[in-house]
Amino acid sequence: MKPRYTLLSPWQKVLAWIIVLTIGIESAIILNINFLQAKMLGQWRVVSSDITYKAATFKTVSVTSQEIIIGSQTIKLTYSARLRDSNFLRENHQNEVDYYFDSKDNQDEYYPYLLVVPKSKNDRMTLFTFQPSQKNTPSVNTYTLRQEHDR
């Protein structure tokens, strides 16, 4: 068999490889955004809370790639390439990343949970829970979370 690339110099091949790898990394980043942040995973402790409606109290929040456990509530995560098939929504902002979660028994159209992950801090997170069946003016409970490091 004759060689396929008889006219190419090594430098042209290296240049082509550099462009290929750049586009490959860019596409890997752009196409895979519908996942949790790496620093979200782990055990979280409630540091302070701002409660506006009555809800079951909890002290810890556990985040794994399969599920999120908030007190007695367990939210199973479903992943899909199509956004409407997964039960959470990621929104990228300048200083923070917002994750909206849908629980299994939620009948309303809005997401009942919101996790705000700041980009600058690694061990802080804010959890917002919305009171069900009050669409127009939902009451919000705010919980500030701090990561529990294994000791």
Partner: protein, 235 residues
Amino acid sequence: MILKRSPKRIITIDYHFNWLLLILLAGLCALTGYSALIEHVSGVQLIFYVLLTLLILASSHQIITWRRPFHFKIDPFAETLTIDLGWRGTRELPLANLHSVNLTGFRMKFRTFYQLQLSTDPKTWSDYHHQSVSTRAKNEANYIEMFIIVTFTHQTKNERIKLVRTLNRNQVPIGPVVPAVLGRYPGTPKPSRRLVIHWLRLQQLLDYFLRRLVLVVIVFTSLSALYGRFFGIYW
């Protein structure tokens, strides 16, 4: 490599007709017609059926031409190779103009396609492809040798061996396999033609780039999706 001479006789290789493809095509035509008549089929679906039918029609001309005296005929008395291209008609190539021959197979869409690669001069190539006068002059000015590619599917192994062996017995040596660049088989340019060489180099660079890009994007994206699914993403 040229094999020993044997007694001269005309050798033909039969045209094989594929019933399965005809049935498939008839079924697709019926499906297209039916979906055009009933109301609840979407336009996208209809376009898909039409395109599928046209693609099968274009890719295998052997479905339409089913009663043919031969597919390949090698005549050692007239020293010609005649190829029946189905609805595109027949082509006659003088054996003296063929520099080398090679037969390769490649798998695509669950079928094996065979390629007869014939290395010839630009004049024979232009005759084969019915080129216009200007293209003919351009080819003859730019290239030393060009490659005629004949693709077929239905010949048996014995017939394929017979085809190459008979060509070989009639003074056509076996040459190297010519790889495709951007799906085409460019000829060997004359060393003095800088612009042609430059253009071919650009095509090779694009081919090199695209082949690696597809692979790298698939591998990187799936690996990063797998990692992000279990360990989270960092962006």
